[in-house]
């Protein structure tokens, strides 16, 4: 997605997000612009999914404050807006982590999303690549104020490939959009409404379209998981490699998740936001059910090389691409370097880094430091 924007002709809308100014083409959403800035400035997005038309606006985790509408109409927007569905205007000023309102709203949305979540990460196949895990790690609290029974649902069987755990669902609607936009006929949807709304097929039908497996990839939580990978392994123990095969139905470009010689799981290739990457022809790299569920043998695939893993998740713990640290945005956002709570060197001379304690004989005593002080005084 970021590449798409960079390829376009010179940007001409100037937008300032958390004091970082950048230029983006018209029609860019605030979220897309914020992803170009990167770091903490980027709002989390649980329901928005770039390849899916019409997605977004529902989870409310990406709320931001627009403190200046545009150059023409500088009035601030009264309410927090969903950054994934609001396009930038020229001269717009947006506050994400610099606004207390945004932080408060974001924390409360995380709390709302978690009150009915089963928190069964230890037995959930999504753990390690779950966006709700990341979100609650970054914005959630350790305790809960919710003292009631978490909601539960009648179990539905979606067929031999897809496992549905409705209790984990955050109703992002991504799988509904996927079925709408990839298949001829959507067989599942949201039944009922409010807090008893659920994903189901209504007449206990199994999902059997040849592209329906993609709902597993778009699901931000562990509500829709791969039955062929169920309880096989934790994702962080598997080695992801990019591979391809000549597939008659789809692009055939996938990521294999293997442990040793055994291919445990096949997914589409995703970027650091968990969104499926476009292939060379610019189309989104959705993969078919046959590639995803049936080709679990190394011999079926031509290995391209190790997958590029972003550092944000636990999968990156063992094998990220290069040892470069993520870009730090804090100086830019605050306009100055962060003030340290206490500069230890100015308080205690014991920790003076200029003294190489390994070069003195015997244990360091006060004399060593006093000597240093005397030298320092002499120098002055």
């Amino acid at each position: 997605m970021a590449d798409e924007i960079k390829q376009q002709p010179p940007a001409n809308f100037k937008v300032t997000i958390d004091n970082v100014t950048l230029e983006v083409p018209p029609g860019t959403t605030i979220l897309q612009a914020a992803r170009l800035v990167g770091g903490d400035v980027t709002p989390p997005a649980m329901c928005f999914y770039t390849p899916l038309k019409g997605s977004g606006g529902k989870c409310r985790t990406c709320l931001v404050e627009v403190s200046k509408g545009s150059e023409k109409d500088p009035r601030p927007m009264p309410k927090l807006v969903a950054s994934c569905r609001t396009t930038v205007m020229d001269g717009m000023e947006v506050k994400s982590i610099t606004s207390e309102r945004v932080i408060a709203a974001r924390n409360s949305v995380v709390e709302f999303l978690l009150i009915n979540h089963p928190l069964d990460c230890p037995i959930c196949d999504q753990a390690g690549e779950c966006h709700l895990q990341d979100l609650s790690y970054e914005h959630g609290k350790a305790g809960t104020r919710y003292e009631f029974k978490r909601r539960s649902f009648k179990k539905h069987n979606l067929g031999k490939y897809i496992q549905l755990h409705m209790t984990r669902c955050i109703l992002c609607y991504r799988c509904v959009f996927t079925a709408d936009q990839l298949t001829n006929k959507r067989q599942h949807g949201i039944l009922d409404r409010g807090d008893h709304a659920e994903i189901a097929t209504y007449i206990e039908k199994s999902l059997d379209n040849e592209f329906i497996g993609n709902v597993i990839d778009v699901c931000p939580v562990g509500a829709l998981t791969d039955k062929t990978f169920r309880f096989k392994n934790r994702v962080w123990f598997t080695k992801p490699v990019d591979a391809h095969r000549d597939c008659p139905t789809c692009c055939g470009k996938v990521t294999l998740w293997a442990r040793g010689p055994e291919v445990l799981r096949v997914t589409a290739r995703k970027d650091q936001w968990g969104e499926i990457l476009p292939t060379e022809d610019g189309k989104t790299g959705w993969i078919c059910n046959e590639c995803r569920f049936e080709k679990k043998d190394e011999k079926d695939w031509i290995i391209d090389g190790p997958m590029k893993v972003a550092r944000h998740s636990v999968i990156g713990a063992n094998h990220y691409e290069v040892l470069d640290t993520p870009k730090e945005t804090i100086d830019e956002v605050m306009g100055r370097a962060p003030k340290l709570l206490m500069d230890i060197h100015s308080v205690s001379e014991v920790n003076d880094p200029s003294l190489d304690l390994s070069k003195i004989e015997g244990p360091a005593t006060g004399a060593v430091f006093n000597h240093k002080k005397m030298i320092g005084e002499k120098k002055d």
Partner: protein, 453 residues
């Protein structure tokens, strides 16, 4: 006796049918409006100062002037008859007894907006009313007021009645449009607004039944004349559906110049509190507007008497005021329990939330559970603060106003009746046996000291 514009002829026998309606001056406004240009009709409505009667009170003329007019794209007028706000039943009365008034208003408004296909979206629970409306439409068509080339002006208009399936959320205009299109009734994310991209991506205006009916007297007597009725920016007449513990519940047409006290206690209107009891509280505009205790209801915080109009009811903001809303006037006597009432409302909003956005889906259920616990006497004092925190996190953070509508009643109940909530915790056993009663809510207001400027 104040002037009646909408319900003037409601008492006439057979007014439901075309012949009687026509004999009593019906469809005059269509004849008059179709001789004007559409823009002149919009201008007339603008001059009248008519405000949307569905709850938000947005000026109708202004809403009409926002409609986009791209070449070759049909426009639609949709009548919002999905009247589901607890306490509100004025539209039902209008449609049941004066269906031709609505049809007449719809024809004039369709002409003003250039809508050749107009829809009435009616709530599913009003099962018997679509028949009444369809009969009225057929009669109007038979007499040349609908169909092709109305009154030889070249204007075509058809009206269709579409039934909802019984969801409160489909009263929200974008959810209504989704439902009208045959989809799941989830509110859309705005912008784009319906005036630009509404039903089937065409420019659409959605108006309440009463708003559209009010267009008829506006055209008949003229916008300026209409604006003289009422006070300030609350022009014209408003239907109030009064219910609760009053002697004479029903639909009343008021001209917004009377005080709340007069409305509740005078014989002409509600006729006082039932069984000679005392007034405790009132929700003056349908269940989602803030509840007010008796003292603040009758007098504003400034000590002026509160009037039945948009400005006076909202005087003092949400701290000491409320809203006109849709006109569902719910009166509570001294025996009503505010905690139980708030729980009932929270249960309603939990049940009616569409479940699309997280704060409303999760927050309404949480509030309901906490309120049930408080109501049962099993709550904690900290629950009250938690409720306050939850409602403040829902309000303003959702796609549509249902989140706000769910948050406001809880906020207002805690703001004004906190001691009753606390009593439910501290006197849990007693709270199960009897009601808190009136406490000091009916006391005269303490006169605020003149603030040093």
């Amino acid at each position: 006796m104040s002037r009646k514009l909408l319900l003037e002829n409601a008492h006439i026998e057979g007014i439901r049918y075309y012949d009687v309606y026509r004999k009593n001056g019906g469809y005059r406004s269509v004849e008059k409006a179709l001789k004007m240009t559409p823009d002149e009709v919009v201008e007339e409505v603008k001059k009248s100062g008519l405000r949307g009667r569905g709850g938000a009170g947005f000026p109708t003329g202004m809403k009409w002037s926002f409609i986009a007019k791209p070449e070759g794209v049909p426009r639609h007028l949709v009548c919002n008859a999905d009247e589901s706000e607890p306490g509100t039943f004025k539209d039902r009365y209008l449609m049941e007894f004066l269906p031709h008034l609505l049809i007449e208003g719809l024809i004039v408004s369709s002409y003003a907006l250039g809508s050749n296909t107009t829809y009435i979206y009616i709530r599913g629970e009003y099962a018997w009313i679509p028949d009444i409306l369809e009969q009225a439409i057929a009669e109007a068509k038979a007499n040349g007021f609908l169909g092709k080339n109305i009154l030889n002006t070249g204007f075509d208009c058809e009206i269709y009645v579409q039934r909802g399936a019984g969801a409160y959320i489909c009263g929200e205009e974008t959810a209504l449009i989704e439902s009208l299109e045959g989809k799941r009734g989830n509110p859309r994310i705005k912008p784009p607004f319906p005036a630009v991209k509404g039903a089937w991506d065409r420019p659409t205006v959605v108006n309440n039944v009463e708003t559209l009916a009010a267009v008829v007297p506006i055209i008949n007597i003229g916008g300026e004349e209409y604006a003289k009725i009422g006070v300030g920016r609350s022009t014209g007449t408003k239907l109030i559906s009064a219910c609760g513990n009053i002697n004479k519940p029903g639909v009343y047409e008021i001209d917004m110049t009377i005080s709340v006290e007069e409305f509740i206690f005078s014989e002409e209107w509600c006729g006082g509190i039932k069984n000679g009891k005392r007034l405790k509280a009132c929700i003056p505009g349908g269940s989602s507007v803030p509840i007010l205790p008796a003292n603040l209801l009758l007098k504003t915080a400034k000590g002026e008497s509160r009037m039945m109009n948009y400005e006076s009811l909202s005087d003092g903001g949400f701290a000491t005021g409320t809203m006109m809303g849709s006109g569902g006037f719910i009166v509570f006597d001294e025996d009503q329990c505010v905690v139980k009432n708030t729980y009932t409302l929270a249960r309603f909003y939990r049940h009616e939330s569409c479940g699309q956005c997280s704060p409303c889906r999760e927050g309404t259920g949480w509030m309901e559970k906490l309120l049930l616990r408080l109501e049962k006497g099993q709550g904690k004092v900290s629950d009250i603060d938690l409720l306050w925190d939850i409602q403040s996190k829902i309000e303003g953070n959702t796609i549509c106003p249902l989140g706000d509508a769910a948050a406001w009643p809880v906020a207002a109940a805690i703001r004004h009746f906190r001691d009753e909530f606390e009593w439910h915790v501290t006197h849990a056993a007693e709270a199960q046996a009897r009601n808190f009663g009136l406490a000091h809510y009916a006391d005269p207001l303490p006169v605020p000291e003149a603030a040093a400027v």
